[in-house]
């Protein structure tokens, strides 16, 4: 009797183990991050501690910016409401740890896509939402109009924990100029120290320079030099190992850019459902099964365009109209002379 009982138990155990394995692998297909997000009811998004145009909170705690809009687009796609986002302000130093440890699910914080970050530290970059490059700001009164006028002993204020520190070294080294790097942990202190005259120049991404200039005591006293010393493709980042979630974030961003390409805006998105162009119809969920592969419904992209708008709308609202960088430069569509080019949604 006992013998059979023993066999029976092991059989039950084996079946149980098998069952758990199958259910687990199915859940994995559907994306653990997606499941958690839907269960929680909000997207956990890491942003900057305040960079106008990219991610900046107003006095009432409402976040705006192009980086913020990526997270809002994902919330619109997976939860149906672009406002269901919990924003976590992070310093440059904290950002990757917050993402890899699972405190946030998307890092949309003007983060440069580099090989070592992509390959080394458990991160996956999903795309580029802003093409940037590092530049220098100086006081107008200094008479400097080009980086070629920099001389030995120049002091440069910047942030720690960014590619800026590395680019700065490459730049000064290749020109054989000795310099004094003054690196702060937070951007506000960098601006305060530079503004007070501690440094001759302030270096970071040009978009950041343009945004921080608005915070200076007297913005007109400062100019951004024309030279760009590095490539800084900024984009959202997700944790490695959840390819479905990675795809959702990537295509939420792509949808915004492609919508602009086809002239779909938050205002006309609904009426585009009856368009003759199948590409447009796919972008507003009126044709094909574009959401099924992610485990989403078919109108996920329509919701993004309706609630957040296309990339051009987001840029205009956050960066152009606020006077930070009225000229889109490389961040214009490829059809209009820029380099924004995304794979097609089909």
């Amino acid at each position: 009797m006992f013998k059979y009982l023993k066999q029976l138990t092991s059989l039950v155990a084996m079946v149980a183990v098998l069952f758990t394995f199958t259910t687990e692998s199915m859940a994995a297909k559907k994306s653990k991050t997606l499941k958690n997000t839907q269960k929680k009811g909000f997207v956990r998004c890491g942003v900057s501690q305040g960079l106008p145009g990219f991610s900046n909170a107003d006095a009432a705690g409402n976040w705006t910016g192009v980086d913020v809009d990526v997270c809002r687009a994902v919330a619109a796609a997976v939860l149906g409401d672009a406002n269901k986002v919990k924003f976590t302000p992070l310093s440059a130093k904290e950002r990757f740890t917050a993402l890899t440890s699972g405190e946030i699910d998307i890092l949309s914080r003007n983060t440069t896509w580099t090989l070592s970050r992509d390959a080394d530290i458990g991160l996956t970059f999903v795309g580029v939402n802003f093409y940037d490059g590092q530049g220098f700001m100086v006081r107008k009164s200094s008479g400097i109009t080009s980086t070629s006028q920099f001389k030995n002993g120049i002091s440069a204020c910047t942030n720690i924990g960014t590619t800026t520190e590395l680019n700065m070294r490459d730049f000064f080294n290749s020109r054989g100029i000795s310099y004094e790097p003054v690196a702060f942990e937070k951007a506000d202190e960098v601006v305060a120290a530079y503004d007070a005259g501690r440094c001759d120049t302030y270096t970071t991404d040009k978009s950041g320079l343009a945004a921080q200039r608005t915070k200076m005591k007297n913005p007109d006293e400062h100019i951004v030099l024309p030279e760009t010393i590095s490539k800084e493709p900024l984009g959202p980042v997700v944790r490695q190992g959840d390819s479905v979630w990675e795809d959702i974030v990537r295509w939420s961003l792509n949808t915004m850019i492609e919508a602009e390409e086809y002239g779909i805006t938050s205002a006309n998105a609904d009426s585009m459902k009856t368009s003759d162009n199948p590409q447009i119809k796919r972008l507003v969920g009126a044709e094909g099964e574009m959401g099924a592969a992610f485990g989403l419904d078919n109108e996920w992209n329509l919701r993004i365009i309706k609630q957040v708008g296309n990339y051009g709308e987001s840029y205009k609202r956050n960066i152009a109209d606020t006077g930070i960088l009225p000229d889109r430069g490389p961040n214009e569509l490829w059809t209009k002379g820029g380099i924004l080019y995304v794979p097609p949604s089909r």
Binding site: D120, I121, R139, S141, G161, T162, A183, F184
Partner: protein
């Protein structure tokens, strides 16, 4: 060996519990890191760091390794801690004694200083001194020379550099002077103990410490010249000083705020120590004919030190740990350079944070051990 289970049981269980908890966290971290594709290892320490640091006591630039960057940060932390401890101690002792002064103005001023500075959060004080200094200090081109040779500007304090010839001879002369002073003090004490004779040790010591190095200049071939900082124009309105030694304003602001803050606590330790000595001791000392100075030096202080040292050790430890707030004002200490930039560039959070924690622990323990040794040395020697 007469262990009873009853005795060691609870201790054994505690040890097992601690091991299990640590084991659980280690295992958990391993599993999570593996599932997220983060590998663990200290190999990065020998890689090229490729970032520069503003201020370093050893030769360093981005072509050196991360380990070298760690040393740079560590030395900068030690530097600001040592400066802070020295100034905090001097200021603390002065203020502590001033609080007991019979002069109303002096003791009230000391009391006000203590209450004011110890009740404002340190980080605020650091910001205050740094940004207040930045706003108040002149640009290099507007700076007035101090004694004609030094300049205090927004970009730092520029002082002349010493250029030595035959520095080793000068160094030996100082060592010789110190040894001679120790010998003389020893003999003077012996002389007093055996024959009751008093020798003017202080005057002899001062004489020695001046005369021997002076001789090294006159006959030892030691030469000293100064390199005075010179203003250099970088652009229409930006200037720096070249030559000499420059101390960054970050170091000055940090050392200043750490000293001012910690001195308040040390002052209280000193006051408590002196007040802890019974009035009768002083009266008894005075009654056998000791001068007030001798009372303080021979009777009060040796006893007061025993009360002062242990809590002051804590303040030294606090100061060292508080120096990590340097990151806020760009002083390149261990936290900013290693647990900041290096951590960001490598992504090795667990490794770097654990090294940093271990380093602070070692620093604190070293200070503790030294202060305990000193405390034991001045403790009452029971015979």
């Amino acid at each position: 060996m007469n262990f009873k289970l009853k005795d060691i049981g609870p201790q054994l269980m505690t040890v097992i519990a601690v091991v299990l908890v640590f084991g659980f966290f280690t295992y958990n971290a391993q599993v999570n890191m593996e599932s997220r594709g983060i590998d663990f290892g200290y190999g990065f320490l020998s890689q090229e760091s490729s970032f520069d640091v503003q201020f370093s006591l050893i030769e360093y630039d981005g072509s050196h390794s991360y380990f070298r960057a760690y040393l740079v940060g560590l030395l900068n932390t030690i530097l600001v801690s040592v400066i802070g401890i020295i100034f905090a101690t001097i200021l603390g002792v002065i203020v502590g004694i001033a609080r007991l002064s019979p002069n109303y103005l002096i003791n009230q001023f000391a009391a006000f200083y203590v209450e004011f500075f110890r009740n404002i959060p340190l980080l605020l004080q650091i910001f205050f001194w740094y940004f207040a200094a930045l706003r108040a200090l002149p640009l290099p081109q507007d700076a007035e020379a101090m004694f004609g040779i030094s300049y205090l500007t927004i970009k730092g304090l520029y002082v002349p550099a010493f250029i030595w010839q035959n520095f080793n001879i000068f160094f030996y002369s100082i060592v010789a002077a110190i040894i001679a002073i120790i010998v003389i003090r020893h003999r003077a004490r012996k002389l007093q103990e055996t024959q009751g004779k008093q020798t003017p040790v202080l005057f002899i010591s001062i004489g020695l410490i001046f005369i021997l190095p002076l001789l090294s200049f006159l006959i030892g071939g030691v030469k000293l010249s100064f390199e005075i900082p010179v203003l250099k124009q970088l652009a229409t309105t930006s200037f720096i000083y070249e030559g000499g030694v420059s101390l960054p304003p970050e170091l000055i602001a940090l050392a200043l705020s750490l000293s001012l803050y910690t001195a308040t606590f040390i002052a209280e330790c000193v006051r408590a120590g002196i007040q802890g000595i019974g009035k009768g001791q002083k009266e008894a000392a005075a009654s056998i004919g000791l001068t007030p100075n001798q009372v303080l030096k021979l009777v009060v202080m040796p006893q007061a030190l025993r009360i002062i040292i242990p809590p002051t050790t804590n303040q030294y430890l606090n100061l060292t740990k508080n120096s990590s707030l340097a990151a806020a004002i760009a002083y390149p200490d261990l936290v900013l350079v290693f647990a900041g930039t290096a951590l960001m560039q490598t992504g090795k959070a667990i490794e770097i944070v654990s090294i940093t924690m271990f380093t602070y622990l070692s620093l604190s323990i070293s200070i503790s051990i030294f202060m305990n040794w000193y405390n034991n040395k001045i403790a009452i020697q029971e015979k």
